[in-house]
């Protein structure tokens, strides 16, 4: 659930941003594209640590009391997945924009409408972008361990449970959880492809 919410946030923010970066021309655009691409390799533990310091009760956003809650985990994973979705969407939409920009301009389509059209045209690559973001969130453990605290029944998710079970020497159960996690990941990817290929 944490990973799905984070991926949804990343998609909602990343898709329009990625498409916008391809369409709109504004100062700092190249820097933003560079930033999105650079953040593809954002180390989760560093994101976790930074977010921990910000959300800590003695940190700037401590008043929100978000540290060690599922909310903090969603934020951490969304931060990790958004650049992935943004960068990949930008790449996917760039080419169709070159091909169709003339037609869309003649149509008098607004920028917002152009973004929607382009995302529809490049939908296969866009699905891949979202799935790449989902892959990041569901496999991630470093950041959620730091900001979630791995609290039983509250902020313990599959990956952190696997870490715990491994440390308890319960390797069989850890491996079993790992198989389930891989199964979920495969199932989500398969569902997404089936749903989108059918259209």
């Amino acid at each position: 659930m944490v990973s799905l919410s984070a991926t949804a946030i990343a998609a909602v923010v990343g898709l329009p941003c990625g498409a916008g970066l391809a369409i709109c021309r504004f100062p700092g655009r190249r820097a933003l594209i560079l930033l999105a691409n650079a953040c593809l390799g954002l180390p989760p533990v560093v994101v976790g640590l930074g977010l921990y310091l910000i959300l800590s009760r003695s940190g700037p956003l401590g008043g929100l009391a978000l540290l060690f809650t599922p909310g903090a985990m969603v934020i951490a994973q969304a931060l990790l997945a958004t650049p992935i979705v943004t960068a990949l969407t930008h790449r996917a939409v760039e080419e169709p924009w070159q091909d169709y920009c003339g037609a869309l301009r003649v149509d008098g389509a607004s920028r917002l409408r152009s973004i929607g059209m382009l995302l529809a045209i490049a939908r296969r690559s866009v699905v891949t972008a979202v799935l790449a973001g989902f892959g990041r969130t569901i496999s991630e453990v470093g950041a959620v361990l730091i900001v979630g605290g791995n609290i039983a029944g509250y902020t313990r998710i599959m990956t952190t449970a696997i870490v715990l079970k491994t440390s308890e020497g319960d390797l069989g159960l850890a491996l079993g959880l790992g198989c389930i996690l891989i199964g979920i990941s495969v199932a989500v990817s398969a569902c997404a492809f089936v749903l989108w290929e059918r259209r």
Partner: protein, 279 residues
């Protein structure tokens, strides 16, 4: 186009629903206990906490972090109380004005575990310092936690008593500082046929013992004391001090002490309640 809008609409609804749930948490009647990996990994807290929650309606969220990190978390106001096992670090925490009301709730002991082949010939002895000296002189592999936990602190106290600086003597060769929790250290020792020091609770509930066995026990210097400490309201804004205090008092009460004493793994008692007679 429509499909996209629908997708976004669904995503938004899901997000709003999730946001609503997240905003309600943490429940008002919950506290965060920063604790050591040993009380969590051994299963003790999972065994005793349901009774406390039933009695009081207070949920205890446990962070299993190791003593050093647990005290650091509390210093940053991110926990409501701590349950730790490193007397020296605890004293510093209290002297610095961060903690008050330290009480011992239970004890057990540390043990030296190692491969049955026992290259340092320490099996059956009862002197932990002599055992470490023997391990160092035979250069037998030794796994150190290296994570500033209570167990790590004890290990370094023992090396000091032995007059050996293990990092200088064998860092990178036989002395392997893994910077991990107790379970990780036991997994590593098992894989490398190495010696290590463990608390008895984690050892007894550990599932991957392989060729490892308890080799040294019964040294009075290996006593392992667990203390509960509240945060000092003079230095920390502790909105949940009353709830935290209630939990500390319950741990020290006859019910809490009985629950701790009743926790067994394979018929063996892991923690000896000691609120009334601290060791």
């Amino acid at each position: 186009m429509m499909r996209f809008r629908q997708y976004f609409a669904i995503a938004f609804v899901v997000l709003l629903a999730r946001g609503g749930i997240a905003a309600e948490q943490p429940l008002p009647q919950s506290i965060i206990l920063a604790s050591t990996t040993s009380v969590e990994n051994s299963g003790l807290l999972a065994h005793i906490l349901p009774a406390f929650t039933r009695e009081t309606g207070i949920t205890v969220h446990v962070l299993a972090q190791g003593t050093g990190q647990a005290l650091e978390t509390a210093t940053r106001d991110d926990a409501d109380l701590v349950l730790v096992h490193d007397p020296e670090a605890e004293q510093k925490f209290i002297t610095a004005g961060d903690g008050i009301d330290r009480h011992q709730i239970a004890w057990n002991d540390f043990i030296v575990v190692g491969p049955r082949s026992d290259p340092a010939h320490i099996s059956g002895t009862h002197d932990a310092v002599a055992a470490l000296t023997a391990i160092a002189s035979t250069k037998a592999p030794f796994v150190s936690r290296g994570d500033k936990s209570g167990t790590d602190a004890l290990e370094h106290r023992l090396w000091r008593l032995a007059g050996i600086d293990p990092v200088a003597a064998g860092g990178g060769s036989w002395y392997r500082d893994i910077g991990g929790g107790m379970g990780a250290a036991l997994n590593t020792a098992q894989a490398m046929n190495a010696y290590t020091i463990s608390d008895r609770g984690t050892w007894l509930s550990f599932g991957n013992k392989g060729d490892l066995a308890v080799l040294v026990e019964g040294d009075p210097r290996l006593v392992n004391r667990y203390d509960v400490i509240l945060l000092n309201p003079a230095k920390h804004p502790v909105p949940k001090q009353a709830l935290a205090k209630r939990f500390a008092q319950w741990l020290l009460s006859p019910e809490g002490q009985a629950a701790i004493g009743a926790y067994k793994v394979d018929g063996e008692q892991l923690f000896h309640p000691s609120a009334t007679a601290p060791r």
